[in-house]
Symmetry: C2
Subunit: 340 residues, 2 copies
DNA sequence: ACAAAAAATACAATCGATTGTATTACTAAT
DNA sequence: ATTAGTAATACAATCGATTGTATTTTTTGT
């Protein structure tokens, strides 16, 4: 049995009127009398009419859809961000197409093109770890599609950004370790091309300088900051000739696996080594000792990002300058760093 | 500056041929000569042509889109499920629209209708805690849209299901506690209308019966199993006249907050009270003692669900019977229950 | 009661791609 | 060289809703 959906033409025919009137009635236009409107709406319900949005979108040249690309949906920060995006978009009558780049540039490029094909009204994305340039976004720019990059941002001008003040986060985290009496603080950093990690590192450096602690290149170790990396990083820390007494780790996942390794090796946290992470993932409150970390609310960021692109969709005709919104981080002090 | 996207008509005009030939060339039809194909593709690239999928979809009556509704994107199980769905769908050339019901029936109904309006090719969903009947799915059924319910399933016939053998999960969890020597085992259960919790409870009951431990109604406590609930449930357990020595909790979130409360009250886990959770959320491996739990892989479930609906989309013309796939749970034994 | 103004509705083009049918161009066979 | 047969392309309708313009109907005022 084929399903033949009801169209406005079916409604029009069965009432002996024109389909344009039906369309206008269903869109509550004041060019249709109340009497006819009522008749039409009744008939529509009776026939189980369901508007074909494809046709409508084609004609109206809008899709009321926002495309979202994140590296990995299942990471807590990104799933909260998506949650915030979806909620805000839904309230405004927009739907959300979600894609994950899985940290691969190739996939990111292909996803961007899929979203372009689908004529999304705006794109919100967090770039993959492999992304080094932004040529693949040119098409969107040319088509004048509002675009926003959040969390992992680029300093190429021309894009909207919603990001955390990573410098400040790194600065506060390191400052806190110093205040707790740490003298030799290692820093676990992420891929060098990502600005978020560059800036957290800068914050770390400046905090050291301000306290006359010499910055040592060899105390900064880069990795992809996955769970597996945390253990390795911790091993390296224990092998250092000088005794490390503090670690500022640029994310929670690696910080936690490092802690687990250190605990196994009978290193006392925070007495021997104090640790601060980054992101305030739910696990960080549960591990013992609870991990001090930098709060970074995904849902808040998602909400703000969506509000910004919605504004830009509305003002599309007006030439708007790209905006950058920087959220202030806040340090959450827990037991993993409380020496005093 | 208005953006006027290139259409097949622009390509056709600039080459002095018909747009139908352009369309066929771009779809690699063998009704177009190789020579013309090459010419067309070159011109398309030159002009930066981007197919308008809306028009194509309207004509072809398919969207290559799967709609997904989950209660809450940011919950680990669901975000992994979405991750699995997106990956599998992407490979097959489908995109995914994600929505969250936030556990509200009203929102679920509205989302279903949005997805219908958008003519998604299939719907994959996990019902909200408030959902008691399935009338809001009738439209989809009538339109012959493949539908699949995963995790939180309904026993109403006519729908595809991908679910975990919750009975078995409950049975194994309880069995394990009994083998560890527990005699008075409490069960934290979820909302009574959700089958997943009903079945976990059944498994708990049968395991008790098989071991001649009397089932007591008052040892089963229902809640929404949120973080806040765990603490309350733990308080109740401590107030029981009989000494409880084991808890089977129907999810990890509540189990963990219960553990945290019990630890604060100096209850020894597992010596005084052994605990088993459900879902294997990442936190469960990190808390101390590590929480024993039932493995329930979201991404695996998402993948299987997507494969099933993709099959049904393909065979849409053939009348297919709804299928139910039951995944076997596996018990992960960690320290929270290891008495011997 | 009649013209003018306003309200309600109908007509027809359009969005951009697809696809069945018709036509033209070309190849091969007698 | 002529025609049958095939390959290549053109024509035109279609998907379903929207919207500017034209027409008809109703209302208003004198």
């Amino acid at each position: 049995m084929k399903n033949t959906p009801i169209t406005i033409h079916d409604i029009a025919k069965s009432l002996g009127i024109d389909s344009s009137t039906v369309s206008r009635a269903l869109n509550n236009s004041d060019r249709v009398s109340l009497k006819t409107k009522k008749k039409i709406i009744e008939k529509a319900n009776e026939l189980g009419y369901q508007r074909n949005i494809l046709a409508s979108n084609l004609r109206k040249k809008e899709t009321r859809t926002i495309g979202v690309i994140v590296p990995r949906i299942s990471r807590h920060f990104f799933s909260s961000a998506i949650s915030g995006i979806e909620e805000t978009a839904f309230k405004a009558g927009y739907k959300v197409i979600i894609c994950q780049s899985l940290e691969k540039l190739e996939r990111e490029i292909s996803l961007i093109n899929t979203l372009r094909e689908n004529r999304v009204d705006a794109v919100i994305m967090s770039i993959s770890m492999e992304t080094q340039n932004y040529n693949h976004l040119d098409g969107l720019t040319k088509e004048n599609t509002p675009m926003l990059i959040f969390d992992r941002h680029c300093n190429v001008p021309g894009y909207n950004n919603v990001l955390l003040d990573d410098f400040m986060g790194g600065y506060e985290a390191t400052m806190h370790l110093i205040q707790q009496g740490c003298k030799k603080i290692a820093h676990f950093s992420g891929p060098k091309n990502l600005n978020v990690y560059k800036n957290r590192l800068k914050g770390y450096k400046v905090a050291l300088e301000e306290n006359d602690i010499p910055f040592k290149e060899e105390l900064v170790i880069n990795s992809r900051l996955m769970k597996e990396d945390g253990k390795e990083l911790a091993q390296k820390v224990l092998q250092y000739p000088q005794k490390i007494d503090g670690i500022f780790c640029a994310n929670d996942a690696a910080a936690i696996s490092a802690m687990q390794y250190l605990k196994k090796k009978k290193v006392k946290i925070p007495e021997d080594i104090a640790i601060v992470g980054f992101s305030n993932e739910p696990i960080s409150a549960v591990i013992e000792p609870a991990l001090s970390t930098i709060e970074q609310s995904g849902s808040e960021m998602g909400k703000i990002a969506t509000e910004l692109v919605l504004k830009q969709i509305k003002n599309k005709s007006i030439k708007t300058e790209p905006e950058t919104i920087v959220l202030k981080p806040s340090l959450i002090i827990r037991d993993s760093s409380k020496k005093i």
